[in-house]
Structures are given as structure tokens and as C-alpha cells.
Symmetry: none
Amino acid sequence: MQPIKQRDSMPLLRRGELAARVGCNLETIRYYEGIGLLPHPPRSQGRHRLYDADLAKRLRFILRGRELGFSIEEIRALLAIADGGGGCADVYALTTQHVEVIRRKIADLRKLQRILTETAARCARDASPECPIIEALQASSADGPLGAASFAVVPNARELGKAVATRP
Amino acid sequence: MQPIKQRDSMPLLRRGELAARVGCNLETIRYYEGIGLLPHPPRSQGRHRLYDADLAKRLRFILRGRELGFSIEEIRALLAIADGGGGCADVYALTTQHVEVIRRKIADLRKLQRILTETAARCARDASPECPIIEALQASSADGPLGAASFAVVPNARELGKAVATRP
DNA sequence: GCTACAATCTGTAGAGACTACAGGATCAAG
DNA sequence: CTTGATCCTGTAGTCTCTACAGATTGTAGC
């Protein structure tokens, strides 16, 4: 972590600017600060939050982590690893443990990808009455329970490209 | 849609039986009815819901769609298409778009996996290994011309194989 | 038919992760 | 110095389920 004074690359963003830049909702930033994923940023004289490039990166990591299906707590753990908090034993345990979680996620996503791709390939894309995609969905879990225990490993995944800052 | 009277293949299930059969939570069925994904089913004299094979199929469709990462609203759209027998060009578009999102997720997860694995390995030797995972998820596709324009699809994906009916 | 015990019914509350709004303070352009 | 956009804080609402409470039904056994 460096002193907060910047070059001219990024002149300290305020909350709304940061939200626009990373593509999240304005309030999400405050929310992440509130639950401790983002540190309290420095403030202007009038108590407006000011974000530097490091905080922006951290925020992007969190947002993408959510999209990838990690829960808030999992992201908290990943950030702890990145922050180099605990000793080497802790880091080792955490990393290997997360590698396993990620391995399962990848396996599940691949399965989804395969199913969706194969199904789409059979689709005529015209106005034909029967659609293989619809049928595949109805086929229940013919291809097995689809990983049954992992996919996202988490409910409530963040929708990609959702909710950018409010604009009435 | 056929008349509700059945042969002996499926003797009209009640909510709990249906939940057990399709592998979802008891209350989820009522929830989907509440938000209009499932129609109000016929009832017994005592107002117990009774589900036939068609409704079971529809429920499986919804659950499967959620597992595959479609949002509730997307599923609503897919169901409308299925109900209306309309063309499947839209379905195809939605699906391929989906596949692309999944492809990017897999790529990012692989990055994460690689870095975490390397960190764990270095942990055996170094005292304080660095773990640059935050950097790994920076570019991930968002930093295009207008930031978050290239994203797509899903909120709150249903975790695969989650929540079977409640059993204390 | 009557008695139990399970399963459903309704409505409402809770979890997790945001998202929106109200009423006031601050910033920055003119 | 004014003014409209932005930000502040706190609190309430949304979405997708899931759980619970108290009242009714369904049904198996006597």
C-alpha cells in the first residue's frame, strides 16, 4: 500500500465515478465497505469518500468474484490470502482448499457449457415449432444431476452487467 | 394441454410428493406459483394442491433452467416461447450468449486456480508468498471501451442439486 | 366412525446480497 | 455566491428462496 497521493493516471475517484468505472451500483460500494470487504477509504474535507487505483482493483476483484459464483465469505477469504494476512500454513490451507472448490466449479460450468452448446447446435434457429433447447430443458436431469453439489457453490450470484449506477 | 384426468401413470401428486419427485424444496413450488411461473393448480376438496404430469414437467423445466444459470425472467420468457410454440431463434440467441458468458467464467476460474496453486506451492518454500489473485481478475473483459457493456445474463443462479424437500 | 399423526394450508418472517429513497450537506461550474 | 449534481447517513425495500407457526385436511389403524 502506497501513500494516497497519486500521479496523474487516476486522480482519486469519488463513489459515483468509481461505480461508473467498474460498472456496479453506487450503493454496492458502500455496502462492501460496510461489511468489511473494502476498507474505509480516505475522505475529502467534506467527508466524501475518495478511491485510489488499489481500491478500484479490489472492488473489481470482488465484483468479478461474485460473478464467478463465490459467496461474500469466500471472497473475504480470498482477499485475506491476497492480503497476505496469516502465516504460511494458513495460506497453504486456504489456497488448496479454494483450489478444490474452483476445480468443481470449473467442472460444473464445463458441463453446462457442453449441454448448452450441443443443444444449441441442434437448433435450426428458424421458426420451427419444436426447439431442441426447450426439449433439453424439459428432459429434466437426463445428463445427471449436473454436478449436484457445486456449480456456483453458492446461491445469489451477481448478474453480469447488472445494475450500473442509478440513472433516472 | 390435456384434461386433468389421468390414467394410472401418475395419480395427481400433492405438493410434498411433487417436491420429492423433482428434488426441490416444498416451498419453492408455492413460490413459483406465487410469481406466476407455475399456474394455480387444481385443488382437492380441502384446498390441497394437486399436480398432474404437465405441471411436474413445467416445474422440472424451471428448475433445470435455473440450474443452467437462466434467471427467473429468462425462464419466464422461455416458458412463454414454449407455451406459444413460437420460433426458437430467440432461444438460440439466449443460449449462445449464455455459453459465451460461461466460457469467460471458466477462463477466469482457471486463472484463479493457477495462481492459487502456485501460491500454495511457493508456500512450501518461501516464508511469505505473494498471491496476486486480485490482478488476475482485473481485465476479465470489462475494461472495454465502455466498461461493462460486454457482460450478459444471470442473477442468483440456483445451486445445482440444492434443497430437497425439508426433512427434520 | 373415531382417533392420531402426517401432510397441507395460509401468512409472515428471515437469510443473503444488494438497491432505493429521504432529507440534509458538499462540490464545482458559472 | 448561487445552483444543480453528487455525496452523506440511515433505513427500508427487492429478489429468490427457505423456514416457521397455527389452523385444516388426509389417511391408516382400530
